[in-house]
Symmetry: D2
Subunit: 367 residues, 4 copies
């Protein structure tokens, strides 16, 4: 089906497996006239690349993106933009053994059930390399949003049981540490926790928080394509994401109306403000014009070296030890994926909002 | 845009405002040959109706559904099914005051920002009555799924700070109490909590858990229409839902791989089983063939009688007390909405899975 | 599937059978702030109504439309607009006989093959009454386009072998005669031809030409949603349409490049003009800014009183004479359907074109 | 927008310009388990390649396709298939002149109007090379349809004023002559006609007829996605197509009901037959189970060496002579494009028909 196509106006089609020729994406609906080159996209891809810290896989990939269409004289033409990254480093022999069994927590079993068989090398289509297409497309969406004054910023908010403390919040810290945590103390604790995990041949989960600034009010299409709903869809489609909340989320469910309602007020300059943001910037599924705030919860990396029970294709119960290369934690690398997916979705919804009022449409066509 | 259309094959279009002529839905893609009558749908609508307990609004509506097309001789014809419920009880005067200001926590402000103005009576399109179309369509989806051995069951898992205790789980209890909680002790505590809320002119949030039994493996379309992602979209589109988690969700993010991975094994009859269900029945975005388990987190009802600060359309800061009829908690009424949306989405994805393998397609067309 | 949903931004869902409760449409994506009432829509429905001339069916229907949602204080709210027309005059007994056999040229057989059975009364979903939903939605699209200076005008260009002569073209004539032909001489010939058909218990086909004035350049989304392609889809979805051509169409295929290319030139006022319009106003699938011109070819009405061979459900070869009410020609009634479908499609594509250039998007969000 | 994405289940996204890095397509929804290799696709691409006859452009391209994803161990995996053809032969200098003016009959002007500017080299996205992605995807659709006993065959039915004579019909002839006409006499006349065109620095149009055999009944989704409507969309999206007709098409509009209705009858073996096929195999928008027959009308190639009037970007009226390489007729090369688009559309609609009846769905899931 269309499982690999997302969007209404800004529409992306991703392709590629871990050990195939390459991975990529075709983006349709990119407005013409935007300055764009490979560097704009490479910056984002470099943030997800493996091998950049002691906590990420040692796989050596440059992941260099190539723009194959849709750009002329340094500007987008409005025609589909095809981006590709060639797979350089794939050790088939690392994964040949797993063709016969199903790794716990991975999509091996479910892909076999769905399709009858699967490309078992390195996770095939369910591999983390599938996020390259997302991030590449997201880089373009981010650039367009920036032109419109909309900024997206995500960071690691927790690793396992270690959460950041908002009173220590410092984005510069995030950019300097390998876990992308904007709280140095939390980072140090999390580092220790992960070293323990590695020693135990185990792995950790975590969470990512994302803030979107500058989004105008009125974005989101009730009642099914509410902004929080399409963001939930987009973010939950990222591998390993097991939970999504907007604003206070789970905490809101335990609270009362008086404590949860945000109150608007006019400040002395006549600008609408609010003192709290329990809603996360979205009410009735439509953006309010204040910061959008949401969180994604990520399960622990399933590939661990410790012994695990599972089954093989000969219907036997066996024990396995996963060898090869695997991340003890993927959360830091998923931060840019969360930014990318938010950008893609927010841009698509922003473009849809242009047709909400007849007066805006009339003004648009009266030049 | 298509904010009010949802689905790929089983496609629903809802319409209607709180105080307009009525509310309804058109469902396209209903397979032909299914026995269907108003009663099949009315059962579900009655579960969401206001005025059925002391904790729900006193609005008197029969909410009788009428099938206007798509059924002949008691069976679905395969053509679009149009369902309508006429609005009987709408006291415009109850809401006339609010045309001038924006109620905190409601979509008044965001609808005005999006469309330039709004039908301010009773919440208009953002009213809970919009869920009638969803539930009516969901009733049909539930019936089809039942024919395929797939059962959906949801219940209140928490009200405010009061959660059910799984060791006391009893679904019969849920059907007997007004909060639809399958744990009598928790219900009693929650009842007390709500009486306190009402006394304080306040409201409460809560959460709903949903279990889907009997779904075959292989359902879900990576990488964007993963089953957990489309469920997140569907559930988060329900008003007041602020969080969604699949399986262990938030707990998974704090856990380790060894504790979170589910291990498959063959029992003595050669059937695939697993001892844990941390995944919630979905891995790699595809159903495993085990129970699907997810949770929706709902914010407190925004309409409270207590005094609140807000703004009016003349750019003034004012104080208001919301009069009229409102639920202190909506969670029990949202349970059937969660079942409905799950059914609609799961059915759509199940139908999409029919085309995954060439062998199945060939067998289908060889009669 | 989504066979009954059409559009990207301006999206319509039609429903209803010939002998069910009623027929209607839900329109999503109507911009807010447009003045709208039942009269705006009724004008269009009256043009398709049966019983208005000696050449159209004697069925007595008022076909009064009701707006059930999406309009408040006389203006569209931006929420879905649900329109309904109740079926008043349906003589089930007129059609009871046909439940056992398949009328030639009708969809009886194909609906049975597709769905296993069908609502055999009066054509069910394949009845011409299905066009009520299209025309009602089209009326709204026409109104919006008018606000933007875009006018759509269609007329009968031929009945059977009788074609209009462009040198006699007079739109006032069309509005005065029952065949809606803008050439009085052609009308007189066609009238005679139809009287002969009726006498012979036969029927006639014909063609409809449509001109769209005032559409800006740049509308149409290559390479699949080219404007001529989406128009072809839209128009060919109308029952009985068997051919579609844009501009010179079939004649172009017989011509040479030198004769078929339109040349642009600047007139003395510096405005772009062209002396010919072989292209029909669309090149490369995108509107040029000149008149759009296309034609729809319609087969003869299948219901004729003359004897015909066919089969029945008991696998027998039989002869039938169709009784009851039927049009000897449907072309004049289809003119408003062609206008409606053009409007719906052109509006949808016009709205999509708003996001083609980054400069336009930036200007839109800078207020 | 989504102008470059087509389909519901079998969904294709094309990309690429005439003088960019390459052209290609991503196909989502290909069922898993189909044997597939580059040769399956190359056969089709070779039929559209330039430089294969005296009537086609002398551009030297091998147009070798590469499968970059979605195939493992020689079989489709069910994941997106990305296909690419690198552009080898692009003489930018041939086209540099045209950056300053608009060629008559080409999309130069409309692309500039839509996007603000264009890649003027060789037609950019509006170039015929865009059909490579279509044909590559079509090759896969054709292969799947073949497995289901469905065969698509198209051929040139006319060049300019020269039409084939059905009584001389011989498909072997078509495969042997450069114009792909299944009538040797017509081919000889057409050849003479084209030589005259070339001498006059002119070009010709023509038409293509297509027959689809073996399609089961019940395919097509009324009322908007009728099979003839989606085919019209698909075929009319091919560059230079200006008309589409199904069955008798234009001739039907001049005929009477008695002559146009096809009558079904049971032959002595109890099989449903019909003696005529005026409908072209589709009634009520749904396939009957008989041959589908349609025609596409193609305008003359706009690029001619003869002098033409036009305008340039400095708002001047000028005269031009188009140099460089261009086809005097494109119809023979478009035959495989018509087959490809039919296959893509018919397959998509066939897959959609699998969910029409509840009994079929129940049987599917009962293994």
């Amino acid at each position: 089906m269309s499982g690999s196509v997302l969007g209404n106006i800004f529409k992306i089609s991703t392709w590629g497996e871990s050990h195939g020729f390459g991975v990529g994406v075709v983006i349709d609906g990119v407005p013409a006239g935007l300055e764009l080159n490979e560097e704009d996209i490479q910056i984002f891809l470099d943030r997800r690349k493996p091998g950049t810290s002691k906590f990420t896989t040692k796989r050596k990939e440059n992941d260099l993106v190539k723009i194959m269409s849709g750009v002329f004289d340094g500007k987008t033409t409005g025609t589909p933009i095809s981006l590709m990254v060639v797979n350089e480093d794939h050790h088939s022999k690392d994964y040949s053994e797993i063709s016969s069994y199903y790794r716990p927590g991975h999509a091996d079993y479910t892909f076999d059930e769905k399709y009858g068989f699967r490309d078992y090398r390195g996770g095939g289509r369910s591999s983390g390399r599938e996020t390259i297409g997302r991030v590449a497309a997201g880089a373009i969406a981010v650039k367009i949003l920036k032109e419109l004054g909309i900024i997206i910023n995500a960071y690691t908010s927790s690793i396992g049981p270690v959460s950041i403390d908002k009173s220590n919040f410092d984005m510069n810290q995030a950019k300097e540490n390998a876990l992308y945590m904007p709280d140095r103390e939390a980072f140090i604790k999390a580092e220790k926790y992960l070293e323990k995990c590695i020693k135990e041949k185990n792995s950790s989960g975590g969470s990512i928080e994302c803030i979107i600034k500058g989004l105008p009010s009125g974005v989101g299409e009730p009642c099914f394509d509410k902004l929080n709903a399409v963001l939930a869809h987009s973010i939950c489609s990222i591998g390993a994401v097991k939970g999504f909340e907007i604003g206070d989320g789970i905490e809101a469910s335990k609270n009362t109306g008086l404590n949860n309602n945000d109150s608007y007020y006019y400040n002395e300059k006549g600008v609408i403000c609010k003192n709290t943001n329990h809603s996360g910037g979205i009410t009735g599924g439509i953006s309010e014009g204040f910061d959008i705030k949401f969180k994604a919860y990520i399960k622990p990396t399933p590939s661990i070296a410790a012994s695990q029970n599972t089954i093989n294709k000969s219907k036997e119960n066996i024990q396995i030890n996963i060898k090869g290369r695997h991340d003890p934690v993927i959360v830091p690398r998923a931060v840019v994926v969360v930014e990318a997916m938010s950008a893609i979705t927010v841009l698509d919804m922003l473009l849809l909002s242009m047709t909400n009022q007849i007066e805006n449409i009339k003004r648009f066509f009266t030049k």
